[in-house]
Symmetry: C2
Subunit: 302 residues, 2 copies
């Protein structure tokens, strides 16, 4: 039985707790803020209710008053602290000192490559990034990013654990800024912001182009299988035929300068009366419903 330590129990940490507990694994939770721990049972209970899960799952989640208690007997640490290199370095120094030798130390960081906070640790070989999409109990992808020091068997165990609990691990071979997911999101956002700021299309039209267009395929195929199926002559032939056009569009696309506050204001102005909290709840209900839909399809056939 794999025991999980969740370090940092904000939204992402609590969602991780649910991922592991619903797969039957005991979860020990620590947070620097005692109030978060006091409310943990209520917060996890509400999350389970919203996700339509079995209330009994909550019994597998134990709040721990100290970091050492949370690490006691843990096989896997999932850290969810602030995205600050100095804080993360200090926290992982503690984790590496306190955790038993066989324990794997994973960070949910989206912004800091594993070398940034694990370099120089005695246990650098057992450190990796396991980056989720928020919230992980509703979106299955987990990016696994090693540093140059991370041991291959640590990556193997990470992949096996996430498959065991029903997530989808995507394994990088080496570290790269932004990992994969945010690199893909960044280029799409840059061009999106540029198009709406220049007034080529409005925000609703831009979102519709993805939501009712490209996103329809990308929800069950990736972008590469998408081009495979549009390439009756094979993908190299596809690249020969459409590559020059796609290259021209890419070379003409927006770059980093697209991320302006003015562009952000154009987006904000398009959603004048949105209650963010209520709309986040709507998003999470839709993510859950879509996950059920996609799982029912893939169980049927693939």
């Amino acid at each position: 039985m794999t025991t999980i330590a969740i370090i940092g129990a904000g939204l992402i940490g609590r969602s991780w707790a649910l991922v592991f507990a619903r797969a039957g694994l005991p979860v020990q939770v620590w947070d620097a803020n005692p109030t978060v721990l006091d409310r943990l049972a209520d917060d996890i209970g509400a999350m389970i209710r919203d996700a339509g899960g079995d209330a009994g799952i909550a019994a597998l989640v134990t709040p721990c008053a100290t970091l050492a208690k949370a690490l006691d007997g843990a096989d896997w640490v999932q850290e969810n602290g602030p995205e600050d290199a100095a804080i993360k370095r200090a926290l992982f120094a503690d984790l590496d000192r306190l955790a038993a030798p066989g324990t794997i130390l994973a960070s949910s960081s989206s912004a800091l490559m594993p070398s940034v906070w694990s370099e120089g640790l005695a246990g650098a070989a057992r450190c990796l990034v396991a980056h989720p999409v928020n919230p992980p109990h509703l979106v299955p992808i987990v990016e696994l990013c090693p540093s140059a020091q991370t041991a291959p068997e640590v990556m193997d165990r990470a992949e096996a654990l996430f498959r065991q609990v029903g997530q989808v691990p995507a394994r990088l071979t080496r570290e790269i800024d932004g990992f994969v997911l945010n690199r893909l999101q960044a280029v799409l956002l840059a061009e999106s912001l540029s198009l709406v700021e220049r007034g080529v299309i409005d925000v609703q039209g831009l979102d519709d182009t993805i939501r009712h267009g490209l996103g329809r395929r990308w929800a069950f195929m990736g972008p590469l299988e998408t081009i495979l199926l549009n390439a009756p002559g094979g993908v190299p032939d596809y690249v020969r035929r459409y590559g020059p056009m796609l290259a021209r569009l890419t070379d003409d696309a927006a770059r980093g300068e697209a991320f302006t506050e003015a562009a952000g204001q154009v987006v904000a102005d398009a959603f004048p009366n949105t209650e963010i909290r209520a709309r986040q709840d709507w998003r999470d209900r839709e993510l859950a419903a879509l996950d059920r839909h996609l799982r029912s399809r893939s169980e049927r056939k693939d």
Copy 2:
């Protein structure tokens, strides 16, 4: 009652015929290849069966032996010819000469801006691009792109028609190379191909990152609503906080040189035993199932 002329009855033209006919509109179809017209009833029938539609729809689709016959009484022309500027110019010169004055002339072109083939025509004001995602009867987005000559009321009528038949029109304010959808696809593909060719991640992992990650949101929200909901302090604040990271990733991203045959080969090698035709049928079944799922959700609440 709006009468539709479909000019060119390959896969996209037949799918368009189904879109309009299932909304109850009479559809007149012409193709330069008589064999295509001979098989039209069978092909449309098979499409309706696969999509689970009412077989009676087919009665609204009439093959026409000549271009003039297809245009007779038509209010809307949807052209689906080859993506060749000279061919398209000649075809639209014919359409503009033969169609009644009030008829709107739309091209499904993904590659040619409307000015390229409509400039100089007496009826340039009634010409636009109405670019679908293949196949339009399963993916609702339609990009509406005007040239500088296109009349605003033509755009209004185009938008109204596509809403009437259950598609989702996304209206551009002016023409731009690649319109919006392919610009967004191009930047995401460039970075995807670069990451797999450089071996940062394998093809399956790259596709999983979208399919089980970003694509889960983009199937029912756009990328801009996605950031709105991740920005409790407002989108300008989000851009202030995450903009520098996203800008760095964008500036570091692949450009047009990523579209190499070698990258195409990496993708092809990842799908060694895929029967393309069978997998396209699978894709279309999944698109139909996803469309039913999303429509059932949006009817419930939004």
